[in-house]
Symmetry: C2
Subunit: 387 residues, 2 copies
């Protein structure tokens, strides 16, 4: 680890059900926005985070395809997959390449086009993040897995139905100030509690949606950042990545997320930070219960007390530790491969002071946590203003 | 690029139609063999090359799954996809991680379990390496794409049906001495020419098979290699990776492979080698015509004269530049994600002098070339005896 890495450009599209655009259109749109934002005149390498373009779009060989459509062949382009953590892991790989000295200007993109298939096929594609043999074959899908986690958290720690709902209410409120969000509608606790049941206790407003979208960032060595546009360079000061069993039943405590805890420990150590140093977070709220468990695993909330975070106001935009100011997966949308990259974009936007109505006051240190499946992989990044 | 990288362990299984084994079984078998061969007591990180476990096995999130089944959670584990070049690209990523100083002992595995689906689904999965919109949707599959390349090479350069066949005859002869090969049967030119027509002029014996299999290697900094088992350490001295349009029709000359040429140029430069320094090669003979075009793109044969390579005896085991002594994709088998890793294993085995009946005399410098689709991505490695 020889060189510090800076994020010098960010770009994404308005996420949603983008019927009129193809997988490659969506990616190229975000990538061009990031290139423009950075003001670079070339890129040296690309990483693409994508979970399952095979099952969603019948298309593998994705990194070469995207490099070509971005007009960048023959540069090295590599696709990274780690289920819903594919984007965060692509960011990590881009950082390693810059650190290694192999390349200077690296584009990291994430993309998923999920509406090219019907709901059954999309559910099957998403379920491929779980253990095909021991979970999916038995009929389990992700809402079911997270419902079991939620039920256990409620039984064990007294977490309430209303506390779950408040995570969704907060994240929709934040999304109402994000022009890129798929669901910027404000909702109430009542809306959540009376929405359609998906897997008891989780209702549809506890779940992140099916989304088409892409996100891209440009990385370069920090020492080189001043050569480009006059943004505040944002340094990636901490990186942590860990794995766990992808099958929920093999975990000692299904409400714990050991891969998140292990990844966070590494990132805190590398950045020389403690949980209390973090001013804002983007975390993997694929379901409302996930945000609760993640805040506990990151050491932001005490074990068992994650339900109080949104309910007490702590993690709202005007609270002490705003969480998911972008709207999170819940309301900004969750094009799985793009999510981890977009989390970085939100923190960079906040640190630059460009977040508009959802700006966190004096944001200088933020953390992202991107998770695969029910916690089988996690990537944590810590970002800091570099000046 | 601070540290030289050595291969200190290799392992694979006997490839074939492994009905009785699962995707995870196959991978773990190869990985344990590599760990045992290296004599390491732990690994720090893992990379997994796999093309399409989503379409073949309904399973993504592959790196975490494999790390878990290998008993290695929570180590960082990352899946790399670049169609049939996934394995070679995983090797490159493992090298970058060792070079960067982030990790010391890295396992790189490749795996594909292709017989869990029927032939139509396997053909669809493989076709996802081509351009879904401009090629696959129009009905083109890979034998068709390579048949067009073959026809053009024959028209333009006078390459003959017999010259194509001799690539297959040579590679089956080599495979007859490889106990891990799927098809170790020796064949004749007559056998090839009279085998079932697939896509004119390519017949079934011009095509690599559907294969289940895995391959794994252990990398570490060269300076650390002496601590482990007493193998000759093999240094990865050159790495090149390049992309191209994945759609054949957009290439100026479909018989050229610009990504292979670009990747080779980088690898030669990094290793400070010329084509004439290379003593043996493992190249991507997914079809007989591919080996011919690849040898031209690598600068081993003059443009248009690749057909003479096998036909003249040059690339046979006892020729001047043995190519695919393992049997190649054609006869050793082609579990797509594993192929690029197994190519490294063959060169390492040869440099160590452990190749038995197919040993190349005084093998010290070898090259591997692993290609995605019809040439949309290519990874080249140069390996050398380090003592």
């Amino acid at each position: 680890m020889n060189r510090d890495v800076a994020v010098i450009g960010v770009g994404m599209n308005h996420w949603g059900e983008l019927w009129e655009k193809s997988l490659r259109d969506i990616f190229v749109e975000a990538a061009l926005a990031a290139i423009d934002d950075a003001g670079v005149d070339h890129i040296d390498a690309m990483y693409i985070g994508n979970m399952s373009s095979g099952l969603f779009n019948g298309q593998e060989h994705l990194a070469s395809l995207m490099a070509d459509y971005l007009g960048q062949s023959p540069i090295p382009a590599t696709r990274i997959e780690s289920a819903c953590a594919s984007g965060g892991l692509a960011v990590k790989q881009g950082c390693i390449e810059v650190m290694s000295g192999m390349r200077d200007i690296v584009l990291v993109g994430g993309v998923e086009k999920m509406t090219d298939v019907g709901t059954d096929e999309a559910t099957f594609a998403l379920a491929s993040a779980a253990d095909q043999t021991y979970e999916v074959y038995q009929g389990v899908t992700f809402p079911g897995l997270y419902a079991m986690i939620a039920r256990m958290h409620m039984e064990k720690y007294g977490t309430t139905r209303e506390q779950l709902a408040q995570v969704a209410v907060k994240n929709h409120y934040h999304a109402s100030m994000n022009p890129m969000a798929q669901y910027p509608q404000k909702i109430t606790i009542e809306d959540v509690i009376h929405s359609v049941m998906i897997a008891d206790p989780l209702r549809i407003l506890d779940c992140s949606p099916i989304t088409d979208g892409a996100a891209a960032i440009i990385l370069c060595p920090l020492e080189m950042a001043h050569r480009f546009k006059n943004h505040i360079p944002v340094k990636i000061s901490g990186i942590g990545h860990a794995t766990d069993s992808i099958a929920l039943h093999t975990r000692e405590d299904p409400t714990a997320l050991p891969a998140t805890t292990a990844a966070a420990r590494k990132a805190y150590k590398m950045a020389d930070k403690k949980p209390e140093d973090i001013q804002l977070l983007e975390v993997h709220d694929c379901f409302t219960i996930a945000e609760i468990c993640v805040l506990e695993a990151l050491g932001i909330m005490e074990k068992g007390r994650g339900g109080e975070a949104a309910a007490s106001g702590l993690t709202w935009l005007d609270g002490k530790i705003p969480v998911n100011t972008s709207g999170g997966l819940k309301a900004k949308g969750h094009p799985v491969g793009a999510t981890g990259v977009a989390q970085i974009i939100e923190i960079v936007t906040q640190i630059r002071g460009e977040a508009g109505d959802r700006q966190v006051d004096k944001a200088r240190i933020g953390l992202t946590q991107n998770m695969g499946g029910s916690g089988g992989s996690t990537v944590v990044h810590i970002l800091e203003a570099a000046q």
